[in-house]
């Protein structure tokens, strides 16, 4: 069974001189119904590796090599229109900072409608049904006022759940979550992660999750990949990596994670 | 910021124009030009010649000379106005934004009063009260514009006040005065500078406009607006008398606008604007 997403030998570098290679020959897979986690420190190239998939690299960097296969078809040299159609529908993203992803002068509902319209859904009734279902999926079924609220009225956690709702609304096969919970407090983070996991199980969706927190990886990952300085230093099944890390970098990260958790254990309230 | 801007051709052209105009204005007395105020009715409305490169006006005064000396008045007065406005508004706006409370409310109400009047009408009123003449034109335009800048400065100060680096400076014991000067003004300055540059054209038109109406600069002082006013009666016979000063205003205003625009783009790109306004 081939993977839902296959990335081979990805290379990303800066556009302006001095040219720096930020992602140096990275390869990874994401299978349907499974979560692949990319863990690493800031600047390790994990976000850029993810953003390359839907072709959303920021200004100032560009992809210079590698192949991306989605559902077995080449994505990296696809026509721009084809890529645009895929984004939001087959491949969806949830990003780190929810507040900056919403236009403050439009209501939450407008954001939903905009996405639906962009993917050819017409008619008020059809839109309303999908919006209601999407909001229910992320736990807003008892909160009809949400639709008419504005982004600044929602907390970070609520906004992120809304972003997840929009991302799931068009039934993507692959969900990319780029540090999606790094800006949230632990309670909101747990909620969002639970929702992503539930959606993955229910929809047999592939999830590509980027995080710097090994605890999040422990919670969510099936497969784990550790990145450092633009390359993959170690990969494997999550249990194997936790039990027996081989690369220095992985060991260092696990040690830091372990120390953090040890404090809880010291106080006998380990999780 | 400046370095990035010079890469654009339009910026270089605008700067060149402004440097030439500015240079001519500054060195005017030493350029060997005929006296711009010397009346010589025998030579009135003469065609361009070696002696009078752009001809003469209806009173026999050299047009080119009046243009160049006029630029000193037109541009000089605008700078004076802007200096007054930027200085006073920054002070008033910072005071209002930083002090808050009653001081803020009082200052804002005063601004509201000044802002309700349309510029030209208020300017005409002030000139009517204070009398005609360049100084009063400068004062009038200052009075009508300061409130707008003060409001903007206040807005920026308010947003900067609650930023962590200002809070951190307070905890570090920095006095309020030092806070404004060291931490707030440097973020404020670029923003205000860009606005001022963009407004130069607008101010020039006001000065020219008031002078054109006869309320500002009085003859025989050369000024572009006055020149247009004088040339009105000759629009069919000697259109060039209108054209030269009009073109001069157009070119200089446009150069300043393009420069201001480029400065704003450069600010946006460098993120300083974002930082100041965030």
């Amino acid at each position: 069974m081939s993977a839902l997403l296959e990335v081979r030998d990805l290379r990303v570098e800066t556009v302006a001189a001095p040219v720096k290679e930020l992602v140096r020959g990275v390869s990874f897979d994401v299978r349907a119904g499974e979560t692949t986690c990319i863990v690493g420190a800031s600047g390790s190239g994990k976000s850029l590796s993810c953003l390359s998939v839907p072709g959303l690299l920021p200004q100032g960097v560009r992809r210079t090599g590698g192949e991306i296969f989605f559902r077995g078809e080449r994505l990296d040299d696809a026509a721009p229109e084809a890529l645009t159609r895929l984004r939001g529908s087959a491949v969806s993203m949830v990003m780190q900072s929810p507040m900056s992803c919403f236009d403050p002068i439009f209501s939450i509902e407008s954001h939903f409608r905009e996405t639906l319209r962009a993917h050819g859904v017409r008619g008020r009734r059809a839109m309303d049904e999908r919006i209601t279902a999407a909001l229910a999926e992320v736990g807003f079924e008892d909160d009809p006022a949400i639709r008419h609220a504005y982004p600044f009225q929602l907390s970070g956690g609520m906004l992120q759940r809304t972003m997840l709702a929009i991302a799931l609304m068009l039934d993507p096969e692959l969900l990319i979550a780029d540090e999606a919970t790094s800006d949230l407090d632990t309670v909101a983070q747990a909620r969002v992660l639970d929702l992503i996991d539930a959606a993955r199980r229910r929809r047999k969706m592939g999830v590509l999750l980027v995080t710097h927190d090994f605890g999040v990886a422990a919670r969510m990952a099936d497969r784990l990949m550790v990145m450092d300085g633009g390359t993959v230093v170690e990969r494997g099944q999550v249990e194997d990596l936790f039990a027996d890390p081989s690369h220095e970098c992985t060991k260092a990260l696990l040690a830091a994670h372990g120390k953090l958790c040890a404090r809880m254990r010291e106080e006998e309230c380990a999780v | 910021m400046m370095r990035g801007m010079l890469d654009r051709r339009i910026v270089r052209v605008s700067l060149l124009i402004l440097v030439l105009v500015g240079g001519a204005a500054f060195f005017a007395p030493w350029l060997g030009l005929p006296d711009p105020e010397e009346v010589n009715l025998a030579e009135k409305l003469a065609a361009p010649s070696a002696q009078h490169l752009l001809g003469t006006d209806h009173l026999g005064r050299d047009v080119l000379s009046r243009l160049i000396f006029g630029s000193r008045v037109s541009i000089g007065s605008v700078f004076a106005i802007l200096l007054l406005i930027v200085g006073f508004s920054t002070f008033a706006g910072s005071l209002a934004g930083f002090a808050g409370g009653a001081v803020d409310s009082a200052l804002m109400r005063i601004c509201d009063i000044f802002l309700t009047f349309p510029t030209l009408i208020l300017a005409m009123f002030f000139v009517g009260v204070l009398g005609t003449g360049l100084t009063n034109v400068i004062l009038a335009i200052f009075l009508t514009h300061w409130a707008w800048y003060a409001r903007i400065v206040r807005g920026i100060v308010l947003s900067l006040k609650s930023r962590e680096f200002v809070l951190a400076a307070r905890v570090a014991g920095t006095s309020r005065f030092r806070l404004v000067v060291r931490h707030i003004l440097p973020s404020l300055a670029p923003q205000v500078l860009v606005l001022a540059t963009l407004d130069i054209g607008h101010m020039m038109l006001h000065v020219a406009g008031l002078s054109f109406l006869g309320l500002g600069v009085q003859p025989p002082l050369p000024e572009w607006g006055v020149m247009i006013g004088d040339a009105r009666q000759f629009i069919w016979t000697q259109p060039q008398l209108l054209l030269y000063p009009g073109l001069a205003i157009f070119v200089v205003v446009m150069a300043f606008n393009l420069l201001g625009d480029a400065m704003r783009d450069a600010l946006d790109r460098s993120g300083m604007l974002e930082e100041a306004v965030k």
Binding site: G215, E266 | V171, S175
Partner: protein, 290 residues
């Protein structure tokens, strides 16, 4: 141990803006009592938005409470005169969460650390910047870093600069307002080690505000839980707090990410009964399958 900082019955209300609707008042702090004794590290945990940072700012004297008092060394902070207030300021410093936002990008690291030295010790700029060099070394940077601008530092390094700034006037207490929440794990661990070291060496009193229990556990002598605008519980450890059974602490505990991978991972092929999909999703899935 004598009480250093004491907040009594503190209330704080905000008006949440409304352009066309009436502004709704938000009663963030509803009678908070918090005491920090000399040399004591107090953790303050709670969800984001529960008012921890607001309380932090009030304790720092940056905001006045609508009701209630804050005492430093037994005396009312907000009623203090110039000299007293200055002494209070000097002794209660802060490290903020937003590292980039907490420094003036136009000042060098040395100037940043020098600021409290100039204000409280009356040093000249040159002297103060020179004094900042050993301070930077104490937090794990180099003395030569004093001439660098914030843009040259990574997040973790910049936070160290902020810590050096907080320690410069030799305060009795430091408020760490989610100071490590924006840092990634490896950097967070190192900065926490630094904080621990500083605490042990100087016997500093700390108010450690965090939404993450893991960070507070093992670092603080006492942990207070903030919920519904008040201090809902206060115990000697996170464990004791957990035992108190308050619903807020339960939620915080449950949300802590696991230390080891969860067992029984469901694979896509061997799922148990999935929840029924919403109607349109089922329709969409069957369409995609066609």
């Amino acid at each position: 141990m004598t009480s250093l900082i004491s907040a009594r019955e503190v209330h704080r209300r905000y008006r949440r803006g409304g352009f066309f609707r009436k502004a709704e008042p938000l009663h963030v702090l509803r009678g908070v009592d918090l005491e920090i004794r000399e040399g004591e590290a107090v953790g303050l945990v709670g969800r984001s938005g529960c008012g921890k940072s607001t309380l932090g700012r009030i304790v720092l004297g940056l905001e006045r409470p609508d009701e209630g008092t804050v005492l430093y060394d037994g005396r009312d902070v907000f009623a203090a005169d110039g000299e007293r207030f200055k002494e209070y300021r000097r002794n209660v410093q802060v490290v903020f969460q937003n590292v980039q936002g907490a420094v003036n990008p136009r000042m060098t690291a040395g100037e940043i650390v020098a600021e409290p030295l100039r204000n409280f010790l009356g040093l000249s700029k040159k002297e103060a910047v020179e004094r900042s060099r050993p301070l930077l070394e104490q937090v794990g940077l180099h003395g030569s870093d004093a001439d660098k601008f914030p843009a040259h530092f990574s997040g973790g390094e910049l936070q160290r600069v902020c810590i050096a700034r907080a320690l410069a006037p030799e305060p009795k207490a430091v408020v760490f307002d989610e100071a490590v929440s924006s840092l990634d794990m490896l950097v967070q661990a190192r900065v926490l080690d630094l904080i621990r070291k500083i605490r042990d060496e100087r016997g500093l009193a700390c108010l450690f505000i965090s939404h993450d229990l893991r960070v507070v556990a093992g670092l603080c002598d006492e942990v207070a839980l903030m919920a519904d605008g008040v201090i809902a519980a206060r115990e000697r450890s996170v464990a004791a707090l957990a035992a108190s059974g308050h619903p807020a602490i339960k939620r915080l505990l449950e949300s802590v990410p696991p230390s080891r991978p969860l067992h029984c991972r469901e694979r896509a092929t061997t799922d148990g009964e999935p929840e029924p999909l919403p109607v349109h999703v089922a329709a969409g899935v069957s369409q995609a399958a066609m």
